[in-house]
């Protein structure tokens, strides 16, 4: 069976539909079968439908995603309540230790994102990893900064990411590799990302999982939860009608 690759993090400017189209076209050309596009919290259904139509025409599966950047744990809880049923994937940018812990222990959070340019604000450690592995949250690694950074910032980033990968693998936290880019010239093929992941200590097999089955599992799990047949964890409506 052919392996399906997913890029869960594209960040095109949503109000410029031509740029969205270019990015999505490039993703399709490079061999992805699903793309996650970051939408603003106020995104309208009409905009999403337009993007969905573009993706469908190219044979891509659109995954709606939101990136939250709360200032405190309380903030995170209140935003989560309002967005969980509107978006298929929720990622949280953990800018403080408090937010990182809350995001890691909340089942509604799918992806944990950490600062890639400031090591002092990088809060992924063993405690977060332990919580994340219990609650099925994944660690997301954006690979675009590895491409555009140079010199000392890139050295620092590679060292940080290598440490993250070690911790995540030790605690069996799923890793999701995404592009995190906003322009087509920073997009690469999934195979190229697999070799870039070699720089941060991920072997090709683990990198392949991080580009295909790990994001796919998140999408499937959330779509099942968002469907009208979902009642509560483990309980689904299998059949409706008078003959039940």
């Amino acid at each position: 069976m052919k392996r399906l690759f997913v890029d869960l993090h594209l960040r095109p400017p949503i109000n410029q539909i031509e740029k969205v189209r270019n990015l999505v076209e490039k993703s399709a050309e490079l061999g992805y079968s699903a793309v996650g596009i970051t939408l603003p919290i106020e995104a309208k259904g009409k905009d999403v439908e337009v993007i969905k139509k573009i993706c469908e025409d190219l044979g891509l599966d659109l995954v709606t995603r939101i990136d939250l950047a709360p200032k405190s744990a309380r903030d995170l809880l209140s935003i989560l309540k309002s967005v969980r049923r509107r978006f298929e994937v929720i990622a949280v940018q953990c800018s403080t230790k408090e937010v990182a812990i809350q995001a890691a222990k909340d089942r509604r959070v799918d992806l944990l994102l950490f600062s890639s340019n400031n090591p002092k604000k990088h809060f992924f450690s063993t405690s977060e990893a332990k919580l994340a592995s219990e609650k099925n949250s994944a660690l997301e690694i954006n690979l675009a900064p590895l491409l555009y950074l140079e010199g000392t910032p890139r050295i620092r980033l590679m060292s940080l990411l290598r440490r993250d990968v070690l911790i995540a693998r030790k605690f069996k936290v799923p890793i999701v590799l995404s592009s995190g880019c906003d322009s087509p010239h920073l997009l690469r093929k999934p195979e190229d990302y697999m070799f870039l992941a070699f720089l941060i200590g991920l072997d090709p097999c683990a990198a392949r999982e991080s580009l295909s089955s790990n994001p796919m599992n998140i999408i499937e799990r959330n779509r099942r939860k968002l469907s009208s047949n979902y009642v509560c964890p483990g309980v689904y409506i299998v059949k409706r009608g008078k003959d039940c």
């Binding site: 491409l147 322009s183 010239h185 997009l187 190229d192 720089l199």
Partner: protein, 121 residues
Amino acid sequence: MLEKIRRRYLLLKVDCEKPPNEKDFLNALRSSVIRLFGEYGASQTEIFLVEYDPEIKYAIVRCSHKSLPMIRASIAAVTRVAGEPIAIHVLLVSGTLRALRRRMQNIFIGKSVKEKNGVSK
């Protein structure tokens, strides 16, 4: 006894608006290897540009088989050549130049058939 040198040939697609000249292209590849793996690492790759056609935007590069992961990571990390944004994608990897050229034919034939049938991808 000296071990036989095993090589890998890579077919690359140069994705940019204005393709760079051969010298700039090779320099970009080399400096990307040096930036990521240093001079010692670069000396192990034995990178060599076999063929480069800026018109059809394809290139063939040779490297030692042990350094293939390094070369592939370095190729992916090239984002600019002579100030122009660029992306280089690896299309094929082969152990011999002959096999690469044979498989390359299939790619080009497949592409021209698709274009003939009006399929954009």
